[in-house]
């Protein structure tokens, strides 16, 4: 019969129409309530009918890996050095950025002129950023991450769309909040919740302490053996001494580095005041 195909098709349309409102009636118009479970069902694979999200009153939650524009991770407010950048201004993100929207001024020590592992300035031109996520993927220090905040419309693109370091910096706790699983995975890879440099130094310090302790204990116990073997033992002892010395050097260097870092930070704060 001519027209049967059209009728069949109209049947599908009416089915969709009914499905759209069926759940509303079944759940007593819970679609319009703030109920969480309803939302999850209707966004899942079991949902039937049409379902729209009333943006901006409600928003579809974005998954953890969602990437919008980058932000810089800094220490939390309750950290022992609050607000310190995780970025070491190594420049990998600016090299790996496909549209070249990242600009970094490497920090230098004014006294020695040597680079310090802190960016003096950091800019991202949001107009140019293509939200690819390479900077976050290739950052060796987990210092740059992709944000979930997609509401960045503004009335004047020329004045606000270049984000400076102040605008880009967000505390580490924010990253843990928007991407808990990823943050945990990364912390596992680093070996702790701290910045990888801090973890490395802690580990070095612990190793040095352990070795020093081992050294203190060593001469007492294996003395008879040493007498028996003679010269063979001399070498390891010498090595242990060398290790102890280098551990001391490490301490000195670390203190120097910290001083430099603090000097750079103080300078930046002074600049900000100007």
């Amino acid at each position: 019969m001519y027209g049967l195909g059209i009728l069949k098709g109209l049947g599908v349309t009416i089915r969709h129409f009914i499905d759209t409102y069926k759940d509303d009636v079944l759940y007593g118009f819970r679609k319009y309530s703030k109920s969480q479970d309803n939302f999850a069902v209707r966004q899942g694979t079991q949902a039937t009918g049409a379902y729209t999200v009333q943006y901006p009153e409600e928003k579809v939650a974005v998954p953890e890996r969602f990437r919008f524009t980058p932000f810089l991770v800094v220490n939390d407010a309750d950290h022992e050095s609050p607000g310190e950048d995780w970025c070491t201004s190594c420049g990998i993100c600016s090299k790996v950025c496909p549209p070249q929207c990242i600009w970094i001024v490497r920090g230098t020590d004014p006294a020695t002129g040597r680079p310090v592992p802190q960016p003096e300035a950091f800019f991202i031109d949001i107009d140019i950023c293509m939200n690819c996520g390479f900077c976050a993927e290739f950052c060796p220090f987990d210092a740059i991450k992709m944000d979930h905040d997609y509401e960045m419309a503004s009335y004047d693109r020329t004045s606000v769309n270049i984000h400076d370091k102040e605008r880009l910096s967000k505390p580490f706790s924010y990253w843990m909040k928007i991407a808990p699983t990823t943050a945990t995975e990364e912390a596992d890879a680093r070996g702790g919740w701290e910045h990888s440099d801090v973890i490395k130094e802690k580990k070095k310090k612990a190793d040095a302490e352990a070795k020093a302790a081992a050294k203190a204990a060593a001469p007492a116990a294996p003395a008879p053996v040493a007498a028996a073997v003679g010269e063979a033992v001399a070498a390891p002892v010498a090595e242990a001494v060398a290790v102890a010395e280098s551990a001391e050097d490490e301490e000195k260097k670390k203190a120097e580095r910290l001083a430099k870092r603090e000097a750079a930070l103080a300078r930046k704060k002074a600049n900000k005041g100007d």
Binding site: G5, G9, P63, R67, W103, C132, D149
Partner: protein
Amino acid sequence: MVDYEVQAPPTTGSAQDAATYLKARFPGVVSDDTRPGFQGVIVQADKLGEVAQAIRDELGYNYLSSATAVDYLGAGDHMEMVYHAYRISGGGALNFKVQTEREKPVVPSLVNVYPGANFQEREAYDLYGIHFSGHPNLKRILMWEGFAGYPMRKDWREAYYEGEAKPFESRWPAGWVHRAEERNVFGSNVRYPADFDLSKLTDISDQAVYNSASISGMGVDYQQDEMETDQLVVNMGPHHPSTHGVFRMVLKLDGETITGLEPVMGYLHRNHEKIGERNTYLHNIPFTDRLDYISSMGNNFGYVMAVEQLMALGARYTPPTRRAEIIRVLMAELTRIVNHLWSIGFFLNDLGAFFTPMLYANAEREKILDFFEAVAGSRLMCNYMRFGGVFKDIPDRIRSTANLMNDRIRDYDTMEFLSDMINERLPRFLEEYDRYLTGNEILLERTVGQGVLSAEDAIAMSCAGPLLRGSGVAYDVRRADPYSIYPELDFDIPVGKQGDLFDRYMVRMQEMHESLRILRQLLPLLEETKGQDIMSGTRAYNPRIPQGESYGRVENPKGELGFYVVSWGDAKGTQNPWRYHVRAPSFINLTALGPMSVGQKVADVVSILGSIDIVLGETDR
């Protein structure tokens, strides 16, 4: 002269056999390309027509996939046209090249042998300034007529020119920001031809279109004998809802019947390939997303395959891991469904089934995009594949936690979500869609017997994808020249019978069923390889690519997507491609638009264009 004994032409067998035959058949004209990492043969320019004829008729390479130019400035100082021809029965490429001087480059046109070379030669003329003798309609195709210079040439510099290659020096370590815009936009690198009159801008740029063979004779408003119909020229687009973007068709009409059609494109042109040559190899991956932005996963796939082929020329190369290949195919097939849902939805829109079918299709598409978003981080611009693997493994859960921005929570098991989609939701939807529309009498009358493209024409015009298969040619790169893990998967290639609009619609519907069949085979493989590496080797941000050329092609939803990449310059391996060319299926499929539309009514050209399924991001590049 040595007399070579000419053997019978090998109509099957490798490209090596074909090259040997050609060298014997045309002594002194055809020679091997001996540059390290390069394949194929170099043909003398003046004999190209003859050799191409032999390649097509004697050797059976009847499908010209890609024709593109390369500028070897500072590396031999010549221009080169590179052709990749395939046999429609399957197998590898025969790669033949022609070299010509840079100053006055002339190459014989191959439009007579391969009509599919038409647009590609115009593109080479437009961007490289190579003159094709004997081309029927040699004028600019992507750039406008008043443009001075040839932007793909190595010595041409764009507005905002900053450096020959990324990464730029100014970004680090003294990266004080400045806006490129603040510098003069119309600086020294924007020029007009000497005889160009800016006050006559519109006339000059349009006259070339109206003078083309298919349209000429416009402006005459006279009455025919019987029907008293008028002849007139109508511009459809560039801003027209049916053209799926900024695309323009200049139609020559006799009453309502189309007597000539001239596609005008390039409104979205951004010189993607030039950008690609400034970029490093890695930088290009997210740029490929922006080509066919409906199926970015497929674009990534083609590009990383092309670069992996180049990497394989070097010593330290490990192919992608098995899990990476499985995930890639999973994404490629989901993308095919995403794309076909979109294209069928809009095709029905074009037929007048206004937005209801399109929205039903899109509701399903959204669910797949949810999955992409959870895995890759973005719904459309996935940027998911990497050299040697993929970005990240599939997460355990598709989770959206409440945070500062959102108060809604979602939390599904990823594999459960995926298998629900593949085993239940999508098959149910496709069955419903069939019931909804396939038997619809209006749809049948609008599509059956309309916009017919014969199999011979489809092959000759280098059509690809559902357009080619709708015409009854079972050519699918996944089977004809298999890549990744497709050889071990079980699926069929749906083909049409008549090559009309309905056949293309049905081929797309069937392809979705076939993709689901592939996906169902992938689910156990994903379980099997769970926890294995998704990346071979290290994740390097600056891979060095050895010297050579490669042509990586995949069966993208819209047709064969190819990437021709040349690595040149630094013997230790370069960071930036010397040549990066995209064989865009949307672009080349448009060759068939004119021939398909002539004789049809003006209302049908909308549906014919819809049935080709173009995306302007890819057409214009």
